[in-house]
Symmetry: C2
Subunit: 443 residues, 2 copies
């Protein structure tokens, strides 16, 4: 791979940068819309749009500046451009378990190396092992890139693709599969994969990172060591999410895929197991199981059930909620609606008519609680029964986000409305917990 001065830049922006005689790694000042920004010019990732210049500011943050009329770039310093030398790869150790890593994008995959001129939209085996060479002592790593998507753009097509790829890797002999994913919607994806692959023989482990790999405080490496260990050796064959348990680097916690939620926008311990017990902990190089019940590693043939109905919505109720939103979805042919009601699962009586109309139109409806913790109970107050009478299913202690994914899956994998309703209420992948733990475990 030869160093390229403007990797990833295309079209008008590339012309503009070429005219300004700047290359990746140069210090630049960008003038646009009356403001100016200073930083180091970064390469763009593959498949990136062609309208943004990306620079790393002194603060450490990368920003993208949109191309606009009058945008001007000025070179204020020279790049250090060493010859490209790929780092030596550690030898593959035969006999170690085989771990497959599937990249889908997100912060953990956004490795940007402007010095070598290499730019990686997601991580290949080489990247991974050059960042964290000790992984080669744990397993025979095989890594490939499925998507390069920021996780707010992940949708059910990606879930379908992930399920298919995971099953392929398992059939090819992987002892464990890892999916790297942006953290924003990772909880939705873990719920989706928990449902979309039945009869798992080995663990499937999602991992992300709350800090870019190119920042000193990155949690990528510790997270990776832990999840590769889990993929190679953990006794469970479940879909889980492995991330920091607290602020320290010493403990990685594995959350069950259908019971996990991002509960902090920036902390490393962003993810929490809700209304259940975490699956396991990796601390000081050792595993400790926490969950009492789990599917064990076994010989079994994975069964892919990866169809997700797209005409489903998640609606959060609030005071003064206008039921026109429900009407609009029914009119647009939506087949399912999950409500995030208040408390034990309520919405105002001003919604009853719209909900009744949706029920009559055959829309499958379910109720969860915006409290997040606890469970709905629609038998305590008469208002709850007004809703069940109109066809709204109480979804127990299911997370609203999981309930939404579950409804898409139930409608996608059934032939009749009755079957979809039955699937929705059935505990398929631990999304229901018959006994909500009384105390919450939180840092």
């Amino acid at each position: 791979m030869a160093a390229e001065t403007l990797p990833g830049y295309r079209g008008k922006l590339r012309e503009l940068l070429t005219r300004a005689k700047v290359g990746v790694g140069d210090a630049v000042r960008v003038h646009t819309r009356g403001e100016s920004y200073e930083g180091t010019l970064l390469p763009r990732v593959e498949n990136a749009d062609e309208w943004h210049i990306v620079i790393k500011q002194k603060t450490g943050y990368n920003i993208g500046i949109a191309h606009a009329e009058g945008l001007r770039v000025e070179k204020i310093g020279e790049a250090i451009k060493p010859e490209f030398r790929p780092p030596p790869l550690p030898p593959v150790k035969e006999g170690l378990p085989k771990v497959s890593i599937i990249s889908t994008g997100g912060t953990i995959a956004s490795r940007v190396d402007y010095v070598t001129g290499g730019v990686y939209a997601a991580m290949s085996s080489r990247d991974l092992l050059s960042i964290v060479p000790e992984l080669a002592d744990i397993a025979q790593i095989e890594a490939d890139i499925l998507y390069s998507v920021f996780s707010e753009n992940i949708n059910s097509d990606h879930w379908e693709g992930m399920a298919k790829r995971v099953a392929e890797k398992i059939r090819q002999g992987a002892d464990g599969v890892i999916i790297t994913h942006g953290t924003d919607t990772m909880g939705y994806s873990t719920a989706a994969l928990s449902l979309a692959i039945r009869n798992l023989p080995v663990p499937v482990i999602f991992v992300g990172s709350q800090r870019s790999s190119d920042r000193p405080s990155s949690d990528s490496a510790t997270n990776l060591v832990a999840v590769v260990n889990a993929a190679a050796h953990a006794p469970f064959a479940e879909v889980v999410l492995g991330m920091h348990e607290g602020t320290g680097d010493d403990s990685i916690i594995f959350h069950p895929g259908a019971k996990v939620r991002k509960c902090h926008s920036s902390a490393r311990y962003a993810f929490q197991t809700v209304n259940a017990s975490p699956m396991a902990r990796f601390k000081d190089g050792k595993f400790e199981m926490i969950a009492e019940h789990y599917r064990t590693r076994q010989k079994s043939e994975p069964l892919v059930m990866n169809r997700f109905e797209k005409k489903v919505a998640l609606i959060k109720f609030h005071p003064n909620f206008d039921p026109l939103v429900v009407d609009a979805l029914v009119d647009a042919g939506f087949r399912g609606i999950v409500f995030e009601g208040t408390g034990l699962g309520h919405v105002s009586e001003t919604c009853y008519d719209a909900i009744g109309r949706a029920g009559k139109a055959g829309v499958l409806m379910g109720m969860t609680s915006q409290c997040i913790w606890g469970r709905v109970n629609m038998n305590v107050y008469s208002m709850g029964r007004e809703l069940t009478r109109r066809g709204v299913e109480p979804l127990e202690d299911m997370l609203p986000e999981t309930a939404y994914v579950k409804m898409m899956w139930s409608l996608g994998n059934s032939e009749t409305p009755e079957e979809a309703r039955r699937l929705l209420k059935e505990n398929v992948a631990g999304e229901y917990n018959p006994r909500t733990p009384y105390a919450r475990r939180e840092p």
Copy 2:
């Protein structure tokens, strides 16, 4: 007050019950829609609908059975109907602080006494003092009934009424005001009141209960003792919410009104202060301030700013979110939308067009995080800037629910769009916390 056999029952149901010769307190069996229910006939509250029979089942739960074709009631046991004797009231102790209690409804107010035949939609002074006579040793209690509404039906009209009534009570000399409220939407109401009354001279304290007053495990009494103490003696002049801190009865915690959220559907410690420090604790009969900064009791004239714009929506983003919801709101003339985005404040790029259109239509938009904890930061990734460019305001660490109320208030109390945007971004009542506490305080 004479005992009445069917208090609260009207119309057809009253006729039916009269024909069946049953009265409140009798054991009955109700047959409807092929099912039958047994229990003690309860009276209805004032202003109740006329279509439900309410019975207390053996389990302790009250259920309402809707009137339907073929409904039949059978008497299976006689009521004990003693003569009505009002409990003796403790004497008013002159010199104690004056505390005003305003009932709005909810579980804490649902006192149903079918033995005396008295039925209370909300609590009067007499009811309160007969349940918790020791309140008379703490303050001169004056209590009145403003609303009798289950909290999922509370809307901004009620917020406007509460603000007006609180200001009246303060002007009449109250040393502290308590509002009893259903817990489901109490967090929205505390945010509303935090904004709607400026220049508070005394504390305004919301309180609810997670268990009916007529159940042995009720938390009503301990909550009431603590909040009356706070209304009488607390050093702060802020809108707060006082409820159980944990599972025990020994500690009541006071949460700041704009930073509190119901985070458990049924636990007594349902409420949590989010992204801030709780205000104070009442333990073993003593106050302990926790917050470092607060408005102190002072001589000041309360200023009521209680207009809330109704054409505002809160939208929770999710994978596969269909922007038709945004379009429908814009078409219906909505003036404000608060988004609950993912992570640091993102939505998928498939929403950009609808958001751009909303911005051009003059809709005020704000971004919060569905993580609940942490703050949005729309400068880290380019996608955040795509949204701010279209007019979406990053709302820092504001709770989504508070942000929704704040937007209604900002639009309701301003003359121009610019003023509304300025108000939305201004820290009016502690809804923004410049420094998010690193660790969460949770039970």
